[in-house]
Symmetry: C2
Subunit: 356 residues, 2 copies
């Protein structure tokens, strides 16, 4: 059987309507659409054939049709109309990004939150390093009696810090000496280069605060390897409840619990060598738990060897056109923001102050 132009038009109409109403679509509803010049009988025939071809399904005999996974696939790949973002939409996305991206290390959480807001669906955001990070700078700060704060700045401009409690007293100048030493010897090293040998070498010249060195080295090593894997956040799970397919609390709950965890860990892998925006429809999923939801995701560039990914999860019946458009725009804006380090990302810094 052939997929004629008219069949495509019918399929598109069914998907469009179903996305809007969440109810099975009957031949009559299609007839009433503008641009549809055929009678319900004709549409019925077409629909019957589309069903036979696997693009539509029927919940039961006397119901209308709903798109099958294959139907959505076709819709996403060929049929759906481009969704043009309105000025308002682009503007609100830009403002959000500008206002929220202040603290570098909370980036992932904030992006997830923003994307979720923009799409009204649960969102996930991941930052992963392709190469390995290195430490760019160490600072040691005395914090009260006997505890020290270690601040490490990574090559990707993330800042991590750790409170270390000491068994012995150290002075401010001890720390100055040690941090100079750390900066001299331990910066720009990849995780693999943190060897026993290095530890011995640093310990040798560490002076009074030597007891800190093993802790610092271990933490640094850990940090570098952790960052190397992934760093991800999920936001807006509750938004699923807004979708009629999740009126059933059990269903919603089942999905939600998987939204927190490993199921999502696989997603970045899917994006690995893909480019642009990718849509995973229902059963095409890697993760079992997500097999009746769809995922839209896209990559963006953070610079300094960091890869970002944002995505949203929703019912298969989600508004792919809108979601894809917003997500792509988001990715674009984020890439742009990270891409121009010479150029202030905010006009010139008057708005810097606004936070949260």
């Amino acid at each position: 059987m052939e997929l004629t132009e008219r069949k495509k038009q019918v399929l598109r109409s069914v998907v469009d309507l179903y996305i809007r109403t969440a109810e099975p679509v009957g031949s009559k509803a299609i007839t009433e659409l503008p641009d549809m010049k055929y009678s319900s009988a004709t549409i019925r025939n077409e629909m019957a054939e589309l069903t036979a071809m696997g693009y539509l399904e029927q919940p039961h005999t006397s119901a209308g049709r709903i798109p099958s996974a294959a139907g959505y696939r076709l819709y996403v790949d060929e049929l759906m109309a481009d969704y043009r973002l309105s000025m308002d939409e682009t503007k609100s996305i830009n403002t959000a990004i500008e206002e929220k991206m202040q603290q570098v290390d909370k980036m992932v959480e904030k992006v997830a939150k923003l994307v979720s807001q923009a799409t009204d669906l649960p969102a996930i955001s991941v930052a992963a390093r392709s190469g390995g990070a290195t430490a760019k700078r160490f600072d040691l700060i005395l914090a009260g009696q006997g505890s020290v704060i270690l601040v490490i700045m990574l090559s990707d401009n993330q800042v991590v810090n750790k409170l270390i409690n000491l068994p012995v007293q150290v002075t401010d100048s001890d720390l100055k000496i040690l941090s100079a030493l750390l900066n001299a010897t331990m910066t720009d090293l990849s995780q693999e280069e943190f060897s026993q040998d290095l530890l011995d070498r640093v310990m040798g010249s560490a002076g009074a605060a030597a007891c800190l060195v093993p802790v610092i080295m271990e933490f640094t090593g850990e940090t570098l390897s952790r960052q190397a894997s992934t760093n991800m956040a999920v936001a807006g799970q509750m938004r699923l409840l807004g979708q009629p397919e999740y009126r059933d609390v059990d269903k919603a709950q089942r999905l939600m619990s998987s939204l927190d965890e490993d199921a999502l860990a696989n997603l970045p892998a899917v994006m690995q060598n893909a480019n642009g925006t990718k849509v995973l429809v229902g059963p095409e999923h890697v993760a079992q738990e997500l097999k009746d939801t769809s995922v839209v995701m896209t990559k963006f560039d953070i610079g300094d060897g960091l890869q970002g990914m944002i995505g949203v999860v929703g019912p298969t019946r989600m508004d792919y056109a809108k979601v894809t458009a917003r997500l792509s725009y988001f990715a674009e804006s984020l890439s742009k923001m990270f891409a121009k380090p010479e150029q202030p990302q905010l006009p010139t810094g008057q708005e810097e102050a606004k936070e949260e």
Copy 2:
């Protein structure tokens, strides 16, 4: 009418059962409890009187009784049995705290997450400063061409950082000079002391990187005032769905949306001058939206003038004994952890590395 010992016993039984089953409790069910030596008829009489006294209510004539707000109140204040935490529970709380509290500045989020996990209810965690914070140390780090990372360490050991993009080029030594200046002039100042005057003064001696000063000052001021107000996180909203009273998605959604926002902002105020663990039952609430949920909350000490608060939100029918016990223990452990700066919070630092 008098609240006899037997009436109390009946009331306690009703609340206990209702907490466990979420179903109205009938006289028969009470009879079947061990330690209940009266017939259902007697219990019925008692229940009728408890209802008249306002401690119980009847959803409809032919249903059992459920506790009224007053009933819960009495239960919480006098009736409920102490819940003894098992070794497992205390251990898992301690391990969680030890493992997760590495990054000082992500404390609030992590505590919220942990508390929610421990109670299986949505949790909120707040850190608020009684006095004002001050900056303890400034660092400026050159990050690629034309952008600088500002790291501020606050008097409460929190570390905040901000990426600043520059309209002009600065060198590493410019930054050294400027940060020395900042550390000399801007540390230990409360928010109010950040005046135009100070700005002028610092600008005057700032040298090459002077253009950074306004941005830094503004950010610092903002940070101090923001930290001074509150810093809060909510976690585990979805856990509400596990409660039978929220099988109704609309209801759940309504509550959830208020869980994110202002409704909670009032809670810390309630704790202001209270001590220990506090229970707010349903209609006793400040926040309209929460009027048919209960909140259990408790304070803990972060040290350095910081006050912490943790709390959970749940149906009025929550297991107060268990929740209160866990929450109190949590608060205690956290206080302990923050209270001993001379003493390593982890044995001696071998485990420091574990993160996430």
